[in-house]
Amino acid sequence: MGVRPIKPLFSYGPIPTYRMLLCAVLAFGLMFAEHRFSAVETARSHLTTVVAPIQWLVALPSEGVRWSAMAISDQQALIDENGRLREQLLTLSNRVQRMASLTAENIHLRELLNAPNPADVPYITAELLSLDSDPFTQQMVINRGRRDSVYIGQPVMDASGLIGQVVSVSAYTSRVLMVADANHAVPVEINRNGLRFIAQGTGQLDTLNIPSVPATADIREGDLLVTSGLGGRFPQGYPVARVDEVKRESSQAFMEVSAEPIAQPERSRYFLLLFPPERPEVKLDGPERMARQVVWPGDPAHPDANRISEEALTAALMLQSTEQE
């Protein structure tokens, strides 16, 4: 039973200098360890699974807005959209049909030249979870992770072009570095004449920078830049950007060229994760390869592009047997 102590006017908390030093050492240790050791990368991917609920939670409001916009949009708008989509489907399936015959023709021609056929690129689809919340980087999070055998360095596409590549993977989500990020560069070639360059991100979503273009290079505004496949990370021939400015100065040895990415990360919600073949690994025999090639990936009539279709196989075998006769 003592006298109650008077509450002091200023309560003196601990001066936490030692804790601060400990935290600073830990933080710097982590930052450098991440640069040096791959073990930190795996630890990170497991830890990211822990914060995945927060990522889902913060994605909820925009999901809700999207859902309610759909719920209250009137019937006429839906009918219009449906009509538009049908039209688009018709155009696309028409294109796919032509594509199938062109692919077959291409294979014939390549066989005549004894050139190897490029393999199909399998893919899985992914949905956007969140664009990055940081104004100084261009990244996004998608809803596929280690469980879907996503790997670091995997190319990511949207409906129109290359978006970027996967830079970290957790169990259910992964993080994509976009081509426009200042840390990203991709080897490209001009679709028109095959000249090869590097396209570097600038940090602005709508601009890529093409450095080291000789003043004599044949490059024009409007040229389509596609992946060149050099470097082995991105498969060849996917559209990346369109050249929108070429600055030529006669006194300079190099031109200043900038390009606008074709993919639209602000508008797309669905993406493709490509699984490009490492190398031309197994040498398939002519007919089997043909049979694989006849099915074009993404063909709505053949949702399972990896399966060899029976008609194509018999067609290819018959072709071979007539050649042997």
Binding site: P16, R19, C23, A27, V51, I54, S133
Partner: protein
């Protein structure tokens, strides 16, 4: 402060973390106030014996994981922020609310500056003075947040 109070502290801090990483249109991103910094600052000033550097470290680590920043970058920044507020919390008790707001702006600004330095170490970025906007808006929000949190805290009988 009992276990309930401690839960409440973590609840508000996690709420601030959610606001900090909430997806926004690209043009609005630089206008987002530094929610996590402001709320951490509030708890450091209000209960300096309970909330401090280690809280900043843990929250920063979570922010790093969510944002995909190098591990430890935000952890360092937020623990530094907590440290600065713990050094100066006694001044807050004698300052008027707008003087507090100015001090909050300055300290948040220092933290943002350190963050930009760390970013330039780890890779090329485009630097502009825009990085001070979250600190400025955080400072402007301080009087409202401080008053509201004091009322809520008194209602719940925490601290």
């Amino acid at each position: 402060m009992g276990p309930f109070g401690y839960l409440f502290v973590w609840f508000t801090l996690l709420l601030a973390l959610c606001l900090q990483v909430m997806p926004l249109p690209d043009a609005w991103l630089v206008w987002r106030p530094d929610w996590l910094g402001v709320l951490l600052a509030y708890w450091c000033v209000a209960t300096p014996q309970r909330v401090g550097v280690l809280h900043g470290f843990v929250l920063g680590l979570m922010l790093d994981l969510i944002e995909g920043a190098p591990l430890g970058q935000n952890a360092l920044v937020l623990s530094l922020l907590a440290y600065l507020f713990l050094l100066l919390y006694q001044r807050f008790r004698v300052y008027s609310i707008w003087q507090q707001a100015v001090l909050v702006f300055i300290l948040l600004g220092i933290a943002q500056l350190v963050e930009q330095w760390l970013r330039t170490i780890f890779g090329p970025i485009s630097v502009s003075l825009e990085f001070l906007l979250p600190a400025l808006i955080g400072g402007l929000l301080w009087p409202w947040l401080f008053t509201m949190m004091q009322v809520v805290r008194r209602r719940l009988g925490i601290g």
